[in-house]
């Protein structure tokens, strides 16, 4: 039993997550600068997002639409009249000395994210989803010199706050994966954790099993991959368990995950009780989502991961494991759906997509690329050729490999190379006879009971036919010729 498992026998871990999803709008939430990632520092700025004196925020309604769609997809109650508030603190990356956020009236209340943990259905309730503006980014040069890049300042964010419903590091990572899939299905966030378009903070506490009250929690930051989320929380569980075992108290603090050292470390030497002095943003009128906007948002929702999962497992009869892999990224699911739409049997298509296609791309999102070597229709053609027995499974894989590297269609490769499986009984009969005749000793031993020799004969026939023989037919013919048919 690992140390972690030992701790978890004694303590129950309680985790709540705050996920910031950067909304993929064209412009910033309160001004006209581009919200795109990756430009040279401070080139995507304007007087408003730089907080220059006299500037005023004007709400970008595309950000509101995104938040409403996310809320509807997560089953939240949409607050049709809500307001923005100012959250105050001093930091160089915060141009106005306050962040425009939502406080007492978030745009979405409640809701839940559903997903599976090792095949088991899980549901994590949400407290709220609110809209806010992002801050800039401090860049620390050597010798105590720092610079600030305000390109990100004012980029719209949705903050998704969960209830403390999560009970393991693994579940936390799966929850983040599910949220990421959801925002990507909705097309409202690219979900790129490395670039920071999906960021997550975890509140972690332990309590003795059987105890109702929550323990003191710490907040973990700086986790920019699913693996980081998992590792950071596991490390924090161990750290807290050891402190509690020694009878020490947990200090409520913010801790940064240091992936290179594999530890969490306190962010500040002494705990600062922040007073954000929230008050309603006087420069913005109340935000109103009318019934028509709500109806339009509802109508615009695509098929979501969980619905797709249900369709795959129930209607298409896929295993939960396969369905899980396919729905994890909307590009995979779309590729799979297109393959099936082009005539492939769903179960076969799933095997090919999972075992062959996904094995050949570094990033599953590439399945959405138009220049992918094998388009869904081409894969469907190959799947059908194997299904009909025109290609053997092994040949099918070879053809797939060539399709991928040569960017040719299965039919073209087969026609050009004469690769079609030989199922013609006359030709096979001939080949089998030749093999049996050429190996009289083995034939005699087989007839004497050495049935393991069947493999030898099948292999020989395959060699004779350059692998094109249908193995099932070969088996039947050989058994008959060797007196077992």
């Amino acid at each position: 039993m690992s140390t972690l498992e030992k701790h978890l026998q004694k303590y129950e871990v309680v985790i709540g997550l705050e996920i910031h999803a950067q909304l993929a709008t064209q412009s910033k939430i309160f001004s006209w600068s581009s919200a795109a990632f990756g430009a040279d520092p401070n080139t995507h700025t304007d007087p408003v997002c730089l907080g220059m004196p006299g500037t005023l925020p004007v709400l970008n309604h595309a950000a509101v639409d995104s938040a409403v769609r996310l809320g509807l997809a997560a089953g939240c109650k949409i607050r049709q009249r809500c307001r923005f508030s100012r959250k105050h603190y001093f930091y160089p990356d915060l141009p106005k000395g306050f962040q425009i956020s939502q406080f007492d009236e978030p745009i979405c209340d409640g809701g839940a994210i559903t997903f599976r943990l090792r095949g088991e259905a899980r549901s994590v309730r949400l407290v709220r989803i609110h809209l806010e503006e992002d801050a800039g980014k401090n860049l620390h040069a050597a010798a105590g010199v720092s610079f600030v890049d305000y390109n990100r300042a004012g980029v719209p964010l949705c903050e998704i706050v969960s209830e403390p419903d999560i009970r393991s590091a693994e579940e936390a990572a799966e929850y983040v994966r599910a949220v990421r899939a959801l925002v990507r299905y909705l097309g409202i966030c690219d979900g790129n954790m490395e670039e920071g378009s999906l960021r997550c903070d975890a509140n972690v506490s332990l309590r003795l099993r059987g105890v109702q009250a929550y323990g003191t929690r710490t907040e973990l930051k700086n986790m920019n991959s699913f693996k980081n989320v998992r590792d950071a929380i596991e490390h924090e569980i161990k750290r807290q368990a050891e402190l509690l075992d020694r009878g020490e108290r947990i200090i409520q603090e913010t801790r940064l995950w240091d992936a290179s050292r594999g530890i969490t470390a306190a962010m500040r030497s002494k705990e600062q009780a922040h007073d954000y002095r929230y008050f309603p943003e006087p420069d913005l009128p109340p935000l109103v989502v009318d019934d028509a906007a709500l109806a339009a948002a509802r109508k615009s929702l695509p098929e979501l991961p969980e619905d797709r999962f249900a369709r795959y497992t129930i209607a298409s009869g896929l295993s939960p494991q396969d369905a899980g892999v396919l729905v994890a990224e909307k590009e995979i699911a779309a590729y799979f759906d297109a393959t099936v739409a082009a005539g492939a049997v769903p179960k076969r298509a799933a095997n090919w997509v999972i075992n062959e296609v996904l094995a050949r791309v570094d990033d599953p999102r590439r399945l959405g690329d138009a220049d992918l070597p094998i388009a869904p229709a081409a894969l469907a053609e190959l799947v059908a050729l194997v299904e009909k027995g025109i290609l053997s499974g092994k040949l099918g894989k070879d053809v797939f490999a060539r399709m991928w590297t040569e960017r040719r269609k299965a039919g073209d490769i087969i026609a050009a190379e004469g690769l079609a499986q030989v199922s013609d009984s006359g030709a096979l009969e001939e080949a089998c006879k030749r093999v049996v005749d050429a190996n009289p000793d083995e034939a005699a031993r087989f007839r004497g009971g050495k049935t393991q020799l069947m493999g030898f004969f099948v292999g020989a026939v395959m060699k004779e036919t350059s692998g094109k023989a249908n193995p099932k037919s070969v088996n039947e013919i050989l058994r008959r010729l060797l007196g077992q048919g």
């Binding site: 007087p47 730089l50 907080g51 220059m52 004196p53 006299g54 500037t55 005023l56 925020p57 004007v58 709400l59 100012r86 105050h88 001093f90 930091y91 160089p92 141009p95 106005k96 000395g97 306050f98 600030v148 007073d275 954000y276 002095r277 929230y278 008050f279 006087p282 420069d283 913005l284 009128p285």
Partner: protein, 494 residues
């Protein structure tokens, strides 16, 4: 102002000559008054020349062709230093233009320069400027009023034909009254706040100054209107303000009911002011208006409510001055905290510091409901008082200030006493409704007295009609202050 615009538009007057004449007056008298912080002679002459060439080319130069303006240093002007009379913004040259100054420029107005003010518009006496005080042209020993004291003094002393100010609790009307000119705080949202440095966002109202109410109306017609850059601006058509002035001047006030709120005529008010305002009410009655008493019972809470809201919002709005992006930065700070503390410590004057501290206190966790939340509820009641009153009357008439301009330093030691100078003006800001101040007499000592006309939301036209009718019957607005002694050449050299 109309004479200038009409003359320039007709080609009888050159905008360049007008600008040059005003620049010359500024050169001669600003030294004594301190109204201008920055004179942009070159820019003004360039703008004027553009107006002249438009006229010469037969293009419409705009309704304010060649009208020279003084712009309160709270309006952001592209390429022209904007400091809000604060050390903390020293050297800030904005890369953008306020909506109001942009609209005025497009209408042919010429910006002569930036005028002085109380730092960040905080004050009622113009003694809080980091850039030196402004003197009242009627008496150099007296304050011009604040915070738009520079604007009012510049118009009174003819250092510009019109001026821009902002009014958060009376900062246009009170100095207008003390300097004997006209000024208006329009309905909240009627004029865009984009490019107006924020003091208290929900109370800040940009507005015009002029010698006459018609000048004020002409400026407001250009300034007003919805602005896509200000989400709080009102998408309602702009009224015919000059026409309203003319209708008041010509047709009188027959059929108009004017409310006189008892709460604004309490004992303790300066006797000369009360007499002048009572006389003005009689004039308005003679002009055909029906005068009737109205009650605004929550007026007594207005000052407290105002200071809770304005300090809370100010503490927030002034948080951006941190030395990181623009303006003053404390030298050689060893840490981030030190950078903030020293920059703000060195950059802000006493009044902004006092209000930041108060506002921070008001908003702190656990106190919000007791202070800010409660103030918002009382604010609603104050606004409701006006709504009820306006079911009985069309406009409300009061004094603008309970006292005439006081001497420098007289109230500096007592901020609470100073805050009371706003007592007649803050309620319309809390309610977001328009209010006009115009001259209605002088004290024996020769200091101007102001009359305030308060209208319902978007009721600017009613205020202008009353103001026009009053001006038609009186000549206070035609009186000019004595010219201050001109600067000697040796003084100029120093």
């Amino acid at each position: 102002m109309a004479a200038i615009a009409d003359g320039v538009r007709a080609g009888k007057l050159r905008a360049r000559d007008v600008a040059a004449a005003y620049l010359d007056r500024i050169e001669r008298f600003n030294h004594a008054l301190g109204a201008y912080l920055l004179v942009d002679g070159e820019g003004a002459l360039r703008q004027a020349a553009a107006v002249d060439s438009a006229v010469a080319a037969g293009r419409d130069p705009g309704p304010l062709a060649g009208v020279p303006l003084g712009v309160k240093d709270i309006f952001v002007t592209h390429g022209l230093e904007t400091t809000c009379a604060s050390k903390i913004l020293r050297g800030f040259v904005p890369p953008f233009e306020s909506t109001v100054t942009d609209r005025l420029g497009k209408a042919g107005a010429v910006t002569l320069g930036k005028v002085n003010m109380d730092e960040f518009a905080m004050g009622s006496s113009n003694e809080n400027s980091a850039r030196g005080l402004v003197r009242n042209p009627w008496s150099l020993q007296h304050i011009p009023g604040g915070s738009s004291g520079g604007s009012a003094a510049a118009v009174a002393a003819s250092l510009c034909a019109g001026a821009l100010g902002t009014d958060t609790g009376g900062s246009i009307r009170q100095p207008a009254a003390m300097c004997g000119v006209a000024g208006m705080k329009p309905t909240y949202g009627r004029v865009s706040r984009y490019g107006v440095v924020a003091f208290a966002s929900s109370l800040d109202h940009p507005g015009p100054f002029g010698r006459t109410v018609e000048d004020v109306a002409a400026l407001l017609e250009v300034m007003a209107g919805v602005d896509p850059l200000d989400a709080t601006s009102i998408p309602a058509p702009v009224g015919a303000y000059r026409k309203a002035v003319q209708s008041g001047r010509g047709g009188g006030l027959k059929g108009l009911r004017l409310g006189v709120p008892e709460e604004y005529f309490q004992p303790g008010m300066d006797a000369e002011i009360e007499a002048a305002v009572r006389a003005a009410l009689d004039d308005l009655g003679r002009a055909g208006a029906e005068l009737l008493p109205v009650s605004l019972p929550h007026t007594k809470y207005a000052i407290a409510t105002y200071y809770l809201i304005c300090t809370a919002e100010a503490s927030s709005n002034l948080a951006r001055y941190d030395g990181v992006r623009y303006g003053l930065r404390a030298a050689d700070a060893k840490s981030l905290e030190e950078l903030y503390a020293r920059t703000r410590g060195e950059g802000f004057g006493w009044e902004p510091k006092r209000r930041i501290m108060l506002g921070t206190y008001v908003l702190r966790a656990g106190y919000y409901e007791a202070y800010y939340g409660k103030a918002l509820r009382v604010r609603r009641k104050i606004a409701d008082d006006f709504t009820v009153a306006f079911t009985k009357c069309d406009a409300i008439v009061t004094p603008t200030s309970p006292v005439p301009a006081f001497r420098f330093g007289e109230r500096m030691g007592d901020p609470l006493q100073m805050y009371l100078a706003d007592i007649m003006t803050v309620a319309p800001n809390l309610a977001g409704i328009p209010a006009l101040s115009q001259s209605c007499g002088f004290t024996k000592a020769g200091l101007p007295i102001g009359l305030q006309i308060i209208g319902p939301a978007l009721g600017e036209e009613i205020c202008f009609r009353v103001g026009g009718a009053y001006e038609a019957r009186t000549d206070w607005h035609t009186r000019l202050p004595p010219e201050p002694a001109t600067q000697t050449s040796s003084e100029r050299a120093s």
